[in-house]
């Protein structure tokens, strides 16, 4: 019997061939439903960026025609792009979702956090995130992380166990077998869940096109006043810039990732619609993080260090 099945000779009839995107979608929906079935207080991290917008889209599909059974959480650095915040609020209203916002500014105002000398607030997100997880007793936290983003993420689990301090301990990570996920955790611990683990950047864009998912306008090319710092085009904003020695130029740009304005760089691009973006991503010779995220460049192991601290 074993020989017979290893030979794989007989194949069941499949009604329609499932494409890569079909399979990735089904896998993500399966993960959402597992979490809904096994956890008490899940939450979806939602920034209005493309990956978290995709998460929300998949969550809606997973539970339709019932509403999404979890709230959304945005850790707001205060350095966001206006277009993204408007988009965030529109998505929430459109789908009748619940949104919690943890503002980094509140933590700075009451002294729990201090502004960094370089003005960037991306690293400051970790404390408000962990405080929110603790105060709301969230036990599963969905993130849009993908394994293709960065080398430190290639070994990340789909269910990633975090201790009571939000830290990722290599030795406690569990082997993930078949599609059987083990979400058991002690009181005070939580699990980060990554339904997009197996998606690549190109899969994300192809799926956004297929599903007709709306994104913040800054993902598409537009004219913006920018200045060059560390090889990236940064935009003017409350995060400090440009300095006296930095020249502001008007460029046709778009964003490949959306994060804290102090460290999210634009790329020069003429890609003004989804088809052109896909063509650009397919031909791109830089990873999206390498191209546009200053905080990942701090050291070779930058992402790994932040993950251990409780960032994603």
């Amino acid at each position: 019997m074993n020989e017979d099945l290893l030979a794989g000779s007989s194949v069941g009839t499949a009604p329609t061939p499932q494409t890569t995107l079909d399979r990735l979608e089904s896998e993500a929906i399966h993960i959402f439903r597992e979490v809904a079935g096994e956890f008490d207080r899940p939450v979806i991290l939602f920034s209005g960026g493309k990956d978290s917008t995709l998460l929300v889209h998949l969550a809606i599909k997973a539970f339709w025609p019932a509403p999404v059974p979890f709230p959304l959480l945005h850790v707001d650095t205060g350095h966001n792009f206006d277009e993204v915040i408007e988009f965030r609020d529109k998505v929430v209203a459109q789908h009748g979702l619940r949104l919690e916002v943890a503002k980094v500014q509140d933590w700075i105002d009451d002294g729990r956090l201090r502004e960094r000398p370089d003005g960037t607030r991306n690293p400051l997100q970790t404390v408000p995130l962990l405080d929110s997880i603790t105060s709301h007793k969230y036990d599963a936290v969905f993130g849009g992380g993908r394994r293709d983003e960065e080398r430190a993420r290639a070994k990340e689990r789909i269910f990633s166990l975090r201790n009571a301090f939000g830290q990722w301990e290599p030795r406690r990570q569990r082997p993930e077998l078949w599609n059987l996920y083990n979400g058991r955790h002690r009181a005070g611990e939580h699990v980060r869940v990554f339904p997009l683990s197996n998606w690549t950047e190109l899969d994300v864009w192809n799926y956004i096109e297929r599903e007709g998912i709306e994104l913040p306008s800054i993902y598409y090319s537009h004219q913006r006043d920018v200045y060059l710092r560390d090889g990236m085009w940064l935009t003017e904003g409350p995060w400090g810039g440009p300095r006296a020695d930095e020249t502001v130029l008007t460029k046709t740009i778009r964003y490949r990732t959306v994060g804290d304005g102090s460290c999210t760089g634009a790329v020069e691009s003429e890609a003004s619609d989804i088809r052109e973006v896909i063509a650009e991503v397919a031909a791109s010779r830089l990873t999206e993080r390498g191209a546009t995220r200053a905080d990942d460049r701090l050291s070779e192991a930058a992402m790994e260090d932040r993950k251990r601290e409780g960032y994603f």
């Binding site: 019997m1 074993n2 020989e3 099945l5 290893l6 030979a7 794989g8 000779s9 007989s10 194949v11 069941g12 009839t13 499949a14 009604p15 061939p17 499932q18 494409t19 890569t20 995107l21 079909d22 399979r23 990735l24 089904s26 929906i29 399966h30 439903r33 079935g37 809606i60 599909k61 997973a62 539970f63 339709w64 025609p65 019932a66 509403p67 293709d148 080398r151 290639a154 070994k155 290599p170 030795r171 406690r172 990570q173 569990r174 082997p175 077998l177 078949w178 599609n179 059987l180 083990n182 058991r184 683990s197 197996n198 690549t200 010779r285 830089l286 990873t287 390498g290 192991a301 790994e304």
Partner: protein, 448 residues
């Protein structure tokens, strides 16, 4: 649109596996400029003249510092024909844990051997674990073929030895492909090599792009673990009651007769629903919502199955466990078993045999099962489970063993599967080995 192939790699530490994976990523242009720059810099720092492609898949700093291996790393590459999810399993320490994890979802595995060494003991063990986990297709990549002067006879000898071993493990000859490669130089990885005119088969990538692998070739009977009950109770959908899940095996059509287990309730499928509209039919791998003709009491953890060929519902069964914890298993251990969407209390009542991986033989009645050991056990569960034999369904024949106290995953469980034991094999050297399967490798199916 392309389809998706999930594959795993296995090999010993010096067989050049990292280089091969790096080569696949590099030659399919899946490595982007900034990543490549970092590899060039790191290679130069180490005084190397050419970039070391193995650095593309180098481990985490915490692993290097702690001297541990955090099992499987996932890599992604794509061609016009297929997208690939590659589970890259470290070959040295913890190889059972890593190989089992990578193999559990793989539709194909690439095994590497060094052409100078041929099929060694570890190759045989890796192949045995891949067979145990039911990976349907194998590729033997005979690497470093340049270091044996592209010698056809050497390649033929290694291929013959491996075919004999794979056949003894239950693989049919057409499920095993041998390819002479040099990962370092790129021969036959993506491009055909001029150095091996005697080889007329596909390159490694050509084979990966074209090998006919259905998603779950031996999943035939319909199985559907209920993950979640969808009850909107909204004005628009006041009485909607749908059972959400991923089709684990087989296909289901509207009108099919089904049985809900373990209760044994029968009904018919009234509707197969999705956000994008209802379907006439759904197949293994699809996430859907089933609506039934009758109003039954069904909840998460139940299994919906084809009425004609249901799995056996039992609270006592035999299984093979791949033990993944540093805490050893002893008979009488109280654990949790997660099967489909149901988690139940269980006792491992008996340790029947341990797999001796050195001799690919079976040792009866061991006192315990340690980290990375594989053994045959008897399990009793607090509630009955609807079980298939692992080789009739890699999804509903599989389960996790979980530590009730700290929640850690202790073992991978395969219902009914026997140990990958070979009779009369006492040598780890190359050579014609056509030993038949031991009796207990035959599936002990709880069957319908």
């Amino acid at each position: 649109m392309s389809d998706l192939l999930r594959l795993a790699t296995a090999g010993s530490v010096d067989d050049g596996k990292s280089t091969l994976v790096g080569r696949l990523l590099y030659d399919t242009k899946s490595v982007l400029a900034d990543t490549l720059d970092a590899v060039h810099r790191a290679s130069a720092d180490r005084g190397l003249a050419t970039p070391d492609l193995s650095l593309l898949v180098d481990g985490l700093r915490s692993e290097r510092e702690q001297g541990i291996t955090i099992d499987v790393a996932y890599r992604y590459f794509a061609t016009d024909k297929r997208s690939f999810v590659l589970a890259d399993t470290p070959g040295h320490v913890q190889y059972t844990r890593n190989t089992v994890t990578g193999a559990s979802t793989a539709q194909l595995a690439i095994l590497l051997v060094d052409a100078r060494k041929g099929v060694i003991e570890q190759t045989r063990r890796h192949a045995a674990v891949l067979a145990l986990l039911g990976v349907p297709q194998l590729v033997l990549a005979v690497n470093k073929i340049d270091l044996v002067d592209f010698d056809e006879t050497t390649f033929a000898r290694i291929s013959k030895a491996f075919t004999a071993h794979a056949t003894a493990l239950g693989y049919s000859p057409d499920a095993v492909v041998h390819i002479p490669v040099s990962a370092l130089a790129g021969d036959n990885v993506v491009e055909h090599s001029e150095n091996t005119p005697w080889y007329s088969g596909p390159t490694l990538l050509e084979h990966l792009e074209s090998v006919p692998v259905e998603a779950d070739p031996h999943d035939r009977v319909f199985r559907f673990p209920v993950q979640y009950v969808i009850r909107p109770r909204t004005p628009e959908y006041p009485d909607y009651r749908g059972y959400a899940g991923l089709v684990a095996s087989g296909t289901v059509k509207v009108g099919d007769e089904i049985v809900v287990l373990p209760a044994g309730l029968r009904s018919t499928v009234e509707k197969i629903d999705t956000f994008d509209g209802p379907l006439a039919e759904a197949a293994a791998g699809q996430s859907v919502t089933l609506l039934l003709a009758d109003d039954l009491d069904i909840s998460r953890g139940d299994l919906i199955a084809e009425a004609g060929t249901p799995p056996q519902v039992t609270d006592e069964f035999d299984a093979t466990l791949c033990w993944l914890s540093e805490k050893p298993l002893t008979p009488g251990a109280r654990v949790l078993v997660k099967h489909g969407a149901r988690t139940v209390q269980a006792i491992v009542t008996e340790l029947r045999a341990r797999f001796d991986e050195q001799r690919l033989a079976s040792v009866d009645s061991p006192v315990s099962l340690g980290l990375n050991e594989i053994g045959r056990v008897a399990v009793r569960t607090a509630e009955p489970l609807p079980l298939d034999g692992y080789y009739s369904s890699r999804r509903t024949g599989a389960f996790l063993v979980i530590d009730a106290a700290d929640g850690s995953t202790l073992a991978a469980g395969l219902v009914g599967a026997g140990l990958p034991v070979l009779d009369g094999v006492d040598s780890c050297t190359e050579g014609g080995n056509t030993a038949p399967l031991a009796d207990d490798h035959a599936l002990v199916s709880p069957g319908p």
